[in-house]
């Protein structure tokens, strides 16, 4: 089984009646890297939250790493997130007042690693994002791009089945954003499965797979070097 993540007919209706996802089906294979694009309010973040078990769908099935999340209680989803899913957010969400290394090590706490191992793994992850030499710096001593790299190190430190990034370049200038994209691409080349939400068309076009959402539906799912698969109503 090569699928890391499978969405089958997933819908999400937010309280208030907004249908953010409308019967979405998606399969993500191990080692894939995909861009999720679409206009604002099209349901990208909602889909990412459902993929990452932060939110349950209103209907439909979600499978992460071979496990149907509908069958699992909240505690089990937490454990699954701790071990199999890494998140990167637009606002970094680093803790001020502790070092980069400690920020990364925190992610391994909930996977049950002992403190010494957490620290060495955190250092390794920082090395992979090219920030090994800044391990003892505090977030306020780092640039925006460096902070996002620390957040990426935190997401990959536990060696997750999939990394979910919600507009990781959204808060960065072009140069820093490109650096972060390069890093994600490198990580993917080394085997990581990555889904990135982005507004950047060029970036999306440069990735091996592009999933386009509109009004909660997938309107395009394109793999480079494969033939275009159009779903829904053609324009």
């Amino acid at each position: 089984m090569t699928e890391v993540l499978v969405l089958t007919d997933v819908s999400k209706v937010h309280p208030g009646g907004v249908t953010a996802l409308d019967s979405v089906s998606l399969r993500v294979r191990r080692g894939e890297m995909l861009a999720v694009v679409g206009p604002s309010g099209s349901g990208k973040s909602t889909m990412l939250h459902v993929m990452g078990t932060l939110d349950r769908p209103s209907s439909g099935d979600v499978e992460v790493d071979g496990r149907r999340i509908a069958d699992l209680p909240d505690r089990a989803l937490c454990a699954l997130r701790a071990r199999r899913i890494g998140f990167v957010f637009q606002q970094f969400h680093l803790t001020e007042g502790v070092t980069a290394q400690e920020n990364v090590a925190t992610a391994l706490l909930y996977a049950g690693l002992p403190p010494a191992l957490r620290r060495t793994r955190a250092l390794e992850a920082l090395d992979r994002v090219g920030l090994g030499h800044r391990a003892h710096h505090h977030p306020h001593q780092l640039s925006g791009g460096e902070r996002q790299r620390v957040a990426i190190a935190r997401a990959i430190a536990g060696d997750p089945a999939i990394v979910l990034a919600d507009e990781p370049t959204g808060a960065l200038d072009t140069a820093n954003g490109q650096g972060v994209v390069e890093l994600l691409r490198d990580l993917n080349r080394d085997g990581a499965t990555i889904a990135v939400i982005t507004h950047d068309r060029d970036l999306a076009a440069s990735l091996p797979r592009r999933v386009e959402l509109r009004d909660g539906r997938i309107v395009a799912d394109v793999r480079a070097a494969e033939q275009t698969v159009r779903l829904g109503v053609a324009r």
């Binding site: 939250h49 932060l54 937490c78 454990a79 699954l80 997130r81 969400h93 002992p114 403190p115």
Partner: protein
């Protein structure tokens, strides 16, 4: 389906402590101030318990030094005849013959007046009683002379007087070693030959001027009836002696003699002097309650401010229980710190007060244990509501916090 990947880990105690301490470390001033509230409450508790305990310990030591085997037989003033009953003159000699009695000595109120000089008008009396005393009184009441000497068999017939320490202060005579002053008793001069040291078990002697038995008869119109007999008995037999004392002192009318034990009276007085009322304990409780409310408030604010952190931790895989545990630990640590500081402050306060009174310091270990344990309990109670609130946040709403 429950396999290794979906079973949450238990946080190690040390990791939980580190999580709780992390929240405090980033806001040290706020943590310090809310811990201070708890510290004040606990310190008050310790002081309120420690000071009376120290006082009682000091009293116990004092009493065992003075001896608890002193008994007092006093003639009861007769309301009907307006007189003291005629206790036989040899009453103390009779008492001394009781087996377990080791010593006995009588004093008698002469109702004479004493003045510093004959120039002071009589109505401006000094508040000092003039007692006729047996020469053997001193060892019985456990007092000594501070200056000069006490009455002897020989000096008992002479116009000499020995002053109790309070009486001496009132008269302004504290030292008779170089020069013997005179005082005016009734209508003649008496030479002061001695000043007594304090006699805590016989406060009436401290306020008296003591003249010899014979001298009182000769110059002060004393009829020879004792008013008080002091008795020392073997410690194990005090109660038996107590039972027969009234009848021995005044066989004809034992009911007109009151027997008491001065150490009991002293103990009762001192304990009421040093025991704090329940009011103080109540005040300490209120201080603690206010401290607890302060901590709860701090924790509520902390949870509100850290919604994003909570969202991040949930995304990283923290369960609701682990979020709850983190905030409970933070609150408990806060109060534990306050409790330890409070116990320390309370101990210092008690020791300081005891030193200033010349007491040994005694703080019941239970008070220290309860102080720290109580602070911990308050921490858990105060942290409960904020911790539950934090754990009820869903990851998406926590992450969406602006």
């Amino acid at each position: 389906m429950s396999d290794d990947l979906t079973r949450p880990v238990r946080l190690r105690p040390l990791d939980l402590l580190r999580l709780g301490a992390g929240g405090l470390r980033t806001r040290p001033l706020r943590a310090f101030l809310s811990a201070l509230g708890i510290a004040v409450g606990i310190a008050t508790m310790v002081v309120v318990v420690g000071i009376p305990a120290s006082g009682r310990l000091a009293l116990d030591r004092e009493l065992s030094a003075l001896g608890v085997n002193l008994l007092l037989a006093q003639a009861k003033f007769d309301e009907r005849t307006q007189r003291l009953p005629p206790v036989p003159e040899e009453a103390d000699a009779m008492v001394a013959r009781i087996g377990p009695v080791t010593a006995a000595a009588a004093v008698a109120n002469t109702s004479a007046s004493i003045r510093r000089t004959d120039a002071v008008p009589p109505e401006r009396g000094s508040g000092i009683t003039v007692l006729a005393a047996r020469p053997g009184l001193m060892p019985v009441i456990g007092a000594g002379v501070a200056s000069g000497e006490f009455l002897t068999e020989t000096s008992s017939a002479l116009p000499v007087v020995v002053l109790g320490d309070k009486a001496a202060t009132l008269l302004g005579i504290t030292d008779v070693s170089r020069q013997r002053p005179v005082v005016w008793i009734n209508d003649r001069w008496f030479t002061v030959t001695g000043v007594l040291a304090p006699a805590p078990l016989a406060p009436e002697v401290e306020r008296a001027a003591l003249v010899g038995w014979q001298a009182a008869k000769t110059w002060l119109g004393f009829t020879g009836h004792p008013t008080t007999v002091y008795v020392r008995a073997a410690e194990s037999q005090v109660e038996q002696v107590r039972k027969v004392l009234a009848a021995t002192v005044f066989a004809e009318r034992p009911s007109s003699v009151v027997v008491s034990r001065p150490s009991d009276a002293l103990a009762a007085k001192r304990i009421t002097d040093t025991a704090f009322s329940g009011l103080f304990l109540g005040l300490a409780g209120v201080a603690l309650l206010v401290g607890g409310v302060g901590v709860a408030n701090t924790m509520v604010v902390s949870v509100l401010e850290r919604r994003r952190e909570i969202g991040l931790r949930r995304a990283l895989g923290s369960t609701r229980g682990q979020v709850r545990g983190q905030f409970l630990t933070e609150s408990a640590l806060l109060c534990l710190g306050g409790g330890l500081a409070g116990v320390l402050l309370g101990t210092l306060g008690t020791v300081g007060y005891a030193l200033s009174r010349g007491w040994p310091a005694d703080i019941p270990p239970a008070a220290l244990g309860l102080g720290v344990g109580g602070a911990l309990l308050i921490g858990v109670l105060a942290g409960l509501y904020p911790a539950v609130r934090a754990s009820l946040l869903t990851p998406t709403e926590a992450l969406a916090t602006p």
